[in-house]
Amino acid sequence: MRAQVGENQKRARFQALCQSLRPDLLRFAIWLSRDRSIAEDVVQETLLRAWKAQDSLEDEKAAKPWFLTIVRREYARTFERKRLPTVDLDDLIASEEPALGAADEQNLTELRLAIFKLPDEYREPLVLQVLMGCSTAEIAAQLNLSTPAVLTRLFRARRQLRVLCGEDTTLDPEE
């Protein structure tokens, strides 16, 4: 009986953990896939896999990188399974132009489009840093890169982004 209560409490804690992390995981998946529908599928599969493997998460403090790893793997699997077509971003943007123009936060919309335009290898570490609050070391571990490589990508990501957004880059550092 006591064991059952303990198991229920553990599941409830894991459930609460999933609930608290889910919004950011969905945002991360959207930035990764550039497609909300795919992102929803990826996060749902991620939560399912996480639920099945919850015993392997020994420390809740390690939950964020643990979930991020599952999201990234699940996204890769989705690509393998579905053979998603590659889509030209400019065409997509052009097709959605009325919706983008109607947005209240035009500045943010432009910035979001600029982020989507970044190459994957720059966009992903940037989102991990800014959205997920990952340190450079955590990003390096997640992407299997060296710390200097992550710093270079973050630097290039922001530099490109600032150019794309028409920011004053006269004081920006050189490569």
Partner: protein, 250 residues
């Protein structure tokens, strides 16, 4: 000694860097100080843009089916029909996911989610104002007074150096958002007189550690730090010191 190019390059990679060498360079180089200010404003926009709006999960459906409120839809058909989804994924899998993820939520949701959402909102607000961490020198007294006026409080000298003070919109109210310099590093304080907390709630989200403390008669106070080496007890100690340095005037 680092030069301007190195300092700016480091900041573009890690805008929230607390590297003392970069801070020192900024102090003595007006051009870099201006650049850091500009970058801070850009980071504020970037943090807001990256934090796409997503609906909170309901108890019965772990993945919302409706459109995301402020997500830029990049697919021409952003919401696929349920029938279309089943082509790609067995129905039992979706059902199992829904059942599994929803199981037990009802029992804990009303307790867990409200507390988590207040902490989450505080952290989200913090993430949207990274420039708040940049300075370590005291703000002018007038700015501090203006920032805390709505909360009917004043800050005693025991609080330490206040390096950032703003009256920020948070959940429909203007609340004081302060950064206080502690020996462990900068600490953010948000005075949430319109919120309520039944008990102290510690949290660790997105690189921020903190606690939300109930303040009888004055709502709640959120205290956050980016110092990951601080344990819960240390965060609680800092929070208690900050709360003790507040003199409520109403």
């Amino acid at each position: 000694m680092i030069d301007c190019n190195q300092a700016r390059r480091a900041l573009l990679a890690e805008p929230e860097s607390a590297d003392p060498e970069i801070r020192a360079h900024r102090e003595k180089c007006p051009e870099c100080a201006e650049y850091f200010e500009r970058l801070g404003r850009f980071e504020t926009r970037l943090a807001s843009a990256i934090r796409l709006g997503v609906h909170a999960a309901s108890t019965s459906e772990p993945v919302p089916a409706g459109p995301v409120d402020n997500v830029v839809p990049l697919q021409s058909a952003p919401v696929r029909s349920a029938a279309a989804r089943t082509v790609h994924r067995p129905r039992w899998l979706a059902l199992a996911a829904s059942v599994l993820v929803a199981a037990g939520v009802a029992a804990v949701l009303w307790l867990a989610v409200p507390r988590a959402s207040l902490a989450g909102d505080v952290v989200a607000h913090m993430a949207g104002e990274p420039q708040a961490w940049l300075s370590d020198s005291a703000v002018p007294a007038a700015r501090l007074s203006a920032a805390i006026a709505d909360a009917h409080m004043r800050l005693l000298p025991d609080a330490g150096v206040v390096s950032y003070a703003a009256s920020c919109e948070f959940r429909g109210h203007h609340v004081p958002h302060l950064v206080v310099q502690d020996t462990s590093g900068p600490v953010t304080v948000m005075v949430l007189v319109h919120e309520s907390a039944r008990s102290a709630v510690n949290f660790d989200e997105q690189g921020y550690r903190g606690v939300i403390l109930p303040v009888p008669g004055h709502g709640a106070i959120a205290v956050l730090t980016r110092n990951k080496s601080l344990g819960t007890a240390a965060v609680d100690r800092i929070a208690a010191r900050v709360v003790g340095a507040i003199d409520w005037t109403a």
